[in-house]
Amino acid sequence: MKPIRRRVPWAFLARRVLYGVLAILAIAVINFFLLQLAPGDAAEALAGQAGTADPQYIAQLRAQFGLDQPLWHQLWAFIVRLATLDLGYSYVFNEQVSVLIFQRMPATLMLMGTALTIAVAGGIVLGVTAARFANRWPDRLISLGALLLYGTPPYWIGLMMILVFAVMLGWTPTSGMENVLAFNTGWDRVVDIAHHLILPAAAQSIFYLAIYIRLVRAGMLEILSLDFIRVARAKGISERRLSYRHALRNAVLPLVTIVGTNVGNFLGGAVLTETVFSWPGVGRLMFDAMFQRDLNLLLSILVLSSTFVIIANLVVDLLYAIINPTVELK
């Protein structure tokens, strides 16, 4: 059979990219006004963080941020800074905001990538198993487990895992990303980081797993009742092959949407887990920024994560069209 060839949907892409840019702009504007609502202005907050109340320093900061200018000028300056990817300087961390964020990005990507991979694989296997044994004991067990996990505060799961696996059993380290005092290099360092990664990745994946299992199960039940499955069964195809090759492909579309949303949201999802496990990523950075009231850093991370969401949404729409060629890109 000849594969269906699609032309690259340039018009769709152009429209969506334009819309995405407008959306980021709008979010930046919302954030800008949100920042205006904060008690005191940014200069006072920063001076406070720097530990001075020197009026000259505050005035200097005001001039530097253009806070002495009218609001519309400030908004314009803010947008221009954003457009040139100049996120400003963090006086709390004494570093460029963009450098701060991108230094921490690999740790977050590693954690969330591992967690999502575990969750997708586990969600598919457990969801398909539950659907194959619908209303029998494997299904009841898996569904009850998913319901329990869905209701559990994710950060609390993390704490309980630290308690059981790190404190009581001593299998894993309690927190952090690596044993910096060991000065590991090469392969030893990889093993050390992987050892530290197990617990946070597992805790984070459990949060997604609960949703994925339910989604895959519901989708599979719907597909398994269709005629083409009955035909395939009549042909004598094994139940396992039937589930994974024939039904799953059709049941996986809603999962693609949710996984896409979660991938786009990965920075938001990381805040709690990284805080619980002291994982040195962007989520932990956001927590610190919030704690130290570094509002500029906080809002930079917010705009950045919104950008990821918009990109992920676009990718999901394109994936949809690839998985299911009857989907029309509008």
């Binding site: 959306a23 949100l34 505060p153 609390w156 704490l159 404190v167 949703i211 920075l267 917010l302 969401v309």
Partner: protein
């Protein structure tokens, strides 16, 4: 009465929903009787610190690192969790229903504009947006309710819009238009009651999500510092992870039970209100 009877029969058949309601009533009872059983505020020191459950006669579930009664904290925390959960979803519902109804009923540029706004809010990661709102406006119960409402309304708006898109084409709505009924009357008295079943189910599950998010905010230390909440109890208990792990375990179980009860009720309501639909779950 037929409705009530049908409801009761569902309750008997669907033991999960019954259990969920029972658990929920238990939590409500705790919230309602907190001041009766524990006249002193939960911040009061009632005995030596770090007493394990059963170890100190004055505190059934033990005391935390500051000698405060954990059971008392549990009762008062139930108030905060329920208040924040129900209030934030109520605010989100009012806003979400209005936006969704207007968009779905009028269509056209109203729809376009309102849905773009809704999508915009869904683009910012929920928990981050809640954190930032609290960071900017200051941590208090009112601000936390507002922040959770801000992150919850878009999902309701989209659901209501979808229902309205379908319902407004129904003949009875066309009939209302023909007899000259005013738009607000059609929207709120004719269409909305028929769109409420989905909203009810969704809001039940959203209350659970809001309660978990409030606890997460408090856990991180961004909750209202003047009240005792389950999340802040876990946050404090974290420091005694090694020697007194019951401090963070007990409020965690309370949260789990509450969220579970609400999800069970939501699933049951879904089967009852939309018998033809399988349980649907929104994304986070």
């Amino acid at each position: 009465m037929g409705t009530l009877k049908a409801f009761l029969s569902i309750l008997l058949r669907d033991w999960m929903m019954g259990l969920g309601l029972l658990l929920l009533l238990g939590i409500l009872f705790m919230a309602a009787t907190a001041t009766v059983f524990f006249p002193n505020p939960p911040e009061t020191m009632i005995g030596p610190p770090l007493q394990w459950p059963g170890q100190y006669p004055g505190a059934l579930l033990g005391t935390d690192g500051l000698g405060r009664d954990i059971l008392s904290g549990l009762f008062y925390g139930a108030r905060i969790s329920l208040l924040v959960g129900f209030a934030s979803v109520a605010v989100a519902m009012v806003f979400g229903v209005i936006v969704g109804a207007l968009a779905g009923y009028y269509g056209g540029w109203v729809d376009m504009l309102l849905m773009r706004l809704t999508e915009l809010f869904q683009t910012i990661p929920q928990f981050m947006l809640a954190i930032v709102v609290v960071a900017v406006l200051g941590a208090s119960i009112q601000v936390i309710i507002l922040s959770l409402a801000i992150v919850s309304w878009p999902a309701i708006a989209r659901l209501v819009r979808g229902e309205f898109l379908v319902l407004r084409e129904k003949q009875y709505v066309q009939g209302c238009i023909v007899v000259g009924m005013s738009d607000p009357r059609i929207i709120f008295l004719q269409i909305l009651p028929n769109a409420m079943s989905g909203v009810t189910v969704m809001s039940t599950i959203m209350i659970a999500t809001a309660i978990l998010m409030e606890s997460a905010l408090s856990f991180l230390g961004f909750g209202d510092p003047n009240v005792m909440s389950w999340g802040s109890m876990i946050g404090l208990g974290k420091n005694n992870l090694r020697d007194a792990w019951y401090i963070m375990t007990i409020p965690g179980i309370a949260l789990l039970v509450t969220a579970l009860a609400l999800n069970m009720v939501g699933d049951g309501l879904n089967d009852y209100l939309n018998p033809r639909l399988r349980s649907q779950r929104g994304s986070r």
